[in-house]
C-alpha cells in the first residue's frame, strides 16, 4: 500500500464524509428542535434528487443552478409535512413517540410508492453537468469535481447554519422553543411557526445535499434508503440534536469507512462505521457532541 493510496482514500473519505454530514444535519436539526425523528429523511433526499433531475431534463438547468430551487421546494415541502402531518402526530394522547415514528415512516412509504408510480422505477442520471465527470488530479490523487463542490457546499452550509442559530433572532427562537415550548408561547412566539420553519430548514439542507448528489449519483425511488441509514448513524454518532455533531459525525463516518476499506475487504467497509458507533454507545451514549 503506497502513500498515494492512503492519501487518496482519506481524501475521498473526507469528501464523502462532508456530504454525509450535510445529508444528516437536517435530521439532527429537527430532532434537536422537537425530539421527532424523521424516518422519511431518505425519501426527502430522493425527492430532492428528482427535482434536480427534472430541472435538468425540462429546463436544462445545471444542478448547481437548480440547487437553490431544490432547497426552496424542499423548504416548503418540509414545512408542509410539519403542518399537515407531524403537527397532528404530536397531539397524540398516548404513545406519542410511536405515533410520530409511524407517521413519518408511513410518509416514507407513501413517498417511495408515489415516486415509483409517477417517476417510474427507472434509474435516472444527469448525463452532463458542469461538474460531472470532471476531476482534479495531482501527484496521483484524484478529486472528483462534484464531490469537491459537495464538500465546499457542505462547509458553507454548516457555517451559515451556525451563524443562523447563534447570531439571529430566529436561531434564538429555535433554541428557546427547544428548551421549553410552553414558555416561549408566553412571550409571544408561535410554537407551530418555529417548528414549521425548523422542518423547512432541515428539509432545505437535505435538499441541498440531494442537488449536489444528483450530479454524480444515480437516481431511483429507493435511492434514499442507504444514505438515510448512514444519516441515522451519523446523527447518533455526533450526538442527537447537535448540529455541529452531525458535521463531525459525517466526517468521522466518511473517514472510518475509507480506512476500513483499506484494511478489510471492501464488502465489510461499513463494519468500521458500526464498530465506532458501538464504541460510542458503550462509552458515550449521548454521542460525541450530544448535549441531551
Amino acid at each position: 500500500m503506497t502513500a498515494a493510496i492512503i492519501i487518496q482514500s482519506l481524501a475521498s473519505g473526507l469528501l464523502m464524509g462532508l456530504l454525509y454530514g450535510l445529508i444528516a444535519v437536517g435530521l439532527a436539526l429537527i430532532f434537536g428542535l422537537m425530539d421527532v425523528t424523521n424516518f422519511a429523511h431518505g425519501e426527502f433526499l430522493m425527492f430532492a434528487m428528482y427535482i434536480t433531475f427534472f430541472c435538468f431534463s425540462f429546463f436544462a438547468l445545471d444542478p448547481l443552478l437548480s440547487a437553490p430551487i431544490t432547497a426552496a421546494v424542499l423548504f416548503a415541502f418540509g414545512a408542509m409535512v410539519y403542518m399537515l402531518i407531524v403537527r397532528f402526530a404530536m397531539r397524540a394522547k398516548t404513545n406519542v413517540g410511536m405515533v410520530q415514528i409511524f407517521a413519518t415512516f408511513g410518509l416514507a412509504i407513501v413517498m417511495r410508492g408515489l415516486a415509483q408510480l409517477f417517476f417510474t422505477p427507472d434509474y435516472r442520471s444527469i448525463p452532463t453537468t458542469w461538474l460531472g465527470g470532471k476531476t482534479i488530479s495531482f501527484a496521483g490523487i484524484y478529486l472528483p469535481a462534484p464531490q469537491l463542490a459537495g464538500g465546499a457546499v457542505s462547509i458553507l452550509a454548516f457555517a451559515l447554519l451556525w451563524v443562523l442559530i447563534k447570531r439571529t433572532d430566529f436561531g434564538k427562537a429555535l433554541e428557546a422553543t427547544r428548551e421549553d415550548a410552553g414558555a416561549v408561547a408566553l412571550v409571544g412566539i408561535d410554537r407551530n411557526k418555529v417548528f414549521a420553519l425548523g422542518w423547512g430548514l432541515g428539509s432545505a439542507l437535505v435538499g441541498l445535499a440531494g442537488a449536489i448528489m444528483a450530479s454524480f449519483f444515480y437516481i431511483y425511488p429507493d435511492v434514499g434508503a442507504s444514505f438515510a441509514l448512514i444519516a441515522y448513524v451519523t446523527v447518533a454518532l455526533g450526538g442527537f440534536g447537535s448540529v455541529f455533531g452531525a458535521f463531525a459525525g459525517g466526517i468521522v463516518v466518511g473517514l472510518v469507512e475509507a480506512t476500513t476499506a483499506m484494511v478489510l475487504p471492501p464488502s465489510l467497509k461499513s463494519v468500521g462505521i458500526y464498530a465506532v458507533y458501538l464504541l460510542v454507545v458503550f462509552f458515550r451514549p449521548r454521542g460525541l457532541f450530544g448535549s441531551i
Binding site: 422505477p121 434509474y123 476531476t135 464488502s267
Partner: protein, 421 residues
C-alpha cells in the same frame, strides 16, 4: 405483421376458440379452461424496473400463445393451447422485492391460493433458490427464465428447469474470448474481478476464479463489494492499483452505474471491461452513464443482430417495443419471453395442468434453436434441469448499440481491443 395486441383481437381470438370448442367433438373433461402460470418478479424495490419490463415481455409472449400468428415459434400457429382444447394462458404476478423470504411466501401463495400450474421467475438467483424449494415441495414445475447462478441446477431438484445459460457457461465463453484475443497476439495476462456480495456475484466470481486458474490467467484483484453501496471509491482505488489487463465486473444496474462513474472520476481506464451481464445488459445503465460505457463488452443470451438469421427476433422485438414504450428486447426480457413460451409449450404437450405431467413434458422438450428468439442451438434439458445448448454471445457497446463480437459464427465485427479511451 399479421396480429397486434389489442382488446379486439383478443376478444376475436377468444370467440373463435369458443366457437371451435363448441363445434369439435371432444372428451367432456377437456373443456376450454384457463391455464394459470405464476410469475415471481421484483415489482418494487431496487430492481423494480426489471420486474416491470418482465411484465411487458410476458404480455408479448401471452399474445403469441393466445393468438394465432405466422411466427416460427412454439404455439404461435394456434390460438391458446391446442393440447388443452384451446385453453388460454393467464399470468398471476407476485412481487418478491428481491427478498428470498418474500419469494418463498409468494410462491406458496401462488401455488396454494392462486392454484397456478407452473412458476416462472425470478431475476435474482437468491430468490430462485427459495422459490424453487417451495415449488419442489408442492410438485409444481419452476422454469427459471433469467437466474444465472450455476448452483441452482445442482441441488438435485426434480421440478426446477433452466433453458438459458448459467454463469459458468457464460464465464467459459468469456474466457474463450480472452483465449482468442491471446491468439491474436494481445497481451492478456492479468484479470481483476469485481463482484457484489449476494449469490449472483459470488457464484459468478467463483466460476471466473476457477476458469482463470485452469487457463493460466493471473487474478490481480478479487474485490467483493456490498450491493447498493453509497460509494465505490475505495473499491475502484484497489482496482486501479491492481491495474489488470481485463476488468470483469458482476454487478446489478445501480452498482454498475456507480462503478463506471467512479472509474471515470478516479481516472481508471482498463484495457478491457468484460462484464457478467446483469446491470450491464440494462438500457438504464447505458442511459445513465452515456459515453462512459463505450467499448465495454458484456456477455449475453441475446442480441438483436440475430434478427438477420432468425426473423421472429425482429418481429417479437417490434411487439415488445410497442408494449414497453420503445424499449428493445434485452438479455433479460428476451429470456423471459422465451421462458413463458417454453413453459406454455410444455403444458400444451402435457395436455394437463398437473405438475407431474408438465414436468414430464419439460423433460421431453427438444426444440431446435431456430424456433426460438435466442442464439441457442436447441432447447433440451439434461438430468439436472439445465439446458446445456444455450450458447451465449459476447456483445460490445459501440456507438449507441451492441455489436456481437463473439463467438466467430455469430460475430458481425471484431472486438475493439483495447477499448476506446
Amino acid at each position: 405483421m399479421s396480429f397486434s395486441i389489442n382488446r379486439r383481437n383478443l376478444l376475436a381470438g377468444s370467440a373463435a376458440t369458443l366457437a371451435l370448442g363448441a363445434g369439435a367433438v371432444r372428451p367432456a373433461s377437456a373443456q376450454t379452461k384457463e391455464v394459470v402460470i405464476g410469475a415471481l418478479y421484483p415489482l418494487s424495490g431496487a430492481a423494480a424496473q426489471i420486474g416491470v419490463d418482465a411484465q411487458k415481455a410476458f404480455e408479448v409472449a401471452l399474445a403469441v400463445i393466445n393468438e394465432k400468428s405466422d411466427l416460427d415459434l412454439p404455439l404461435a400457429g394456434s390460438a391458446g393451447l391446442a393440447g388443452l382444447g384451446g385453453a388460454k394462458v393467464r399470468i398471476v404476478y407476485a412481487d418478491h422485492q428481491g427478498d428470498p423470504q418474500k419469494g418463498r411466501a409468494e410462491a406458496e401463495r401462488l401455488i396454494t391460493q392462486e392454484k397456478v400450474s407452473a412458476l416462472v421467475g425470478s431475476y435474482q438467483s437468491a430468490v430462485a433458490a427459495t422459490v424453487s424449494q417451495s415449488a419442489e415441495r408442492y410438485g409444481i414445475p419452476f422454469l427459471s427464465a433469467d437466474n444465472s447462478s450455476p448452483s441452482l441446477t445442482r441441488r438435485g431438484l426434480k421440478y426446477f428447469f433452466r433453458a438459458a445459460a448459467h454463469d459458468e457457461m457464460f464465464s467459459a465463453a468469456m474466457f474463450d474470448f480472452l483465449d482468442a484475443q491471446r491468439k491474436k497476439g494481445q497481451k492478456v495476462d492479468t484479470i481483476a474481478l469485481f463482484h457484489e456480495d449476494t449469490i449472483f456475484g459470488t457464484d459468478s466470481a467463483n466460476a471466473q476464479l476457477k476458469i482463470a486458474k485452469e487457463r493460466g490467467y493471473n487474478v490481480a484483484a478479487d474485490i467483493k463489494y456490498r450491493a447498493n453501496s453509497p460509494s465505490l471509491t475505495a473499491e475502484v482505488q484497489q482496482l486501479k492499483a491492481a491495474d489488470a489487463d481485463v476488468l470483469m465486473p458482476s454487478s446489478y444496474t445501480t452498482d454498475g452505474i456507480l462503478l463506471l462513474k467512479t472509474m471515470n472520476e478516479l481516472g481508471y481506464k482498463p484495457k478491457a471491461v468484460l462484464a457478467q451481464a446483469a446491470g450491464f445488459s440494462e438500457q438504464a445503465l447505458y442511459d445513465a452513464v452515456g459515453p462512459l460505457a463505450e467499448g465495454i463488452i458484456t456477455r449475453g443470451s441475446f442480441s438483436l443482430d440475430l434478427a438477420k438469421k432468425r426473423p421472429s427476433v425482429g418481429v417479437v422485438n417490434e411487439l415488445f417495443k410497442k408494449a414497453s414504450g420503445g424499449k428493445d428486447l434485452n438479455d433479460n426480457t428476451s429470456r423471459e419471453f422465451m421462458a413463458l413460451l417454453l413453459l406454455a409449450d410444455a403444458i400444451d404437450r402435457a395436455k394437463s395442468t398437473e405438475g407431474e405431467a408438465i414436468r414430464n413434458a419439460l423433460i421431453a422438450t427438444d426444440l431446435p434453436g431456430e424456433k426460438t428468439i435466442m442464439p441457442w442451438s436447441k432447447v433440451k434439458y439434461d438430468e439436472s434441469g439445465q439446458n446445456p445448448y444455450a450458447d451465449p454471445v459476447l456483445l460490445q457497446r459501440i456507438g449507441n448499440t451492441f455489436v456481437t463480437v463473439f463467438p466467430a459464427q455469430a460475430a458481425i465485427a471484431d472486438a475493439l481491443w483495447p477499448m476506446k479511451k
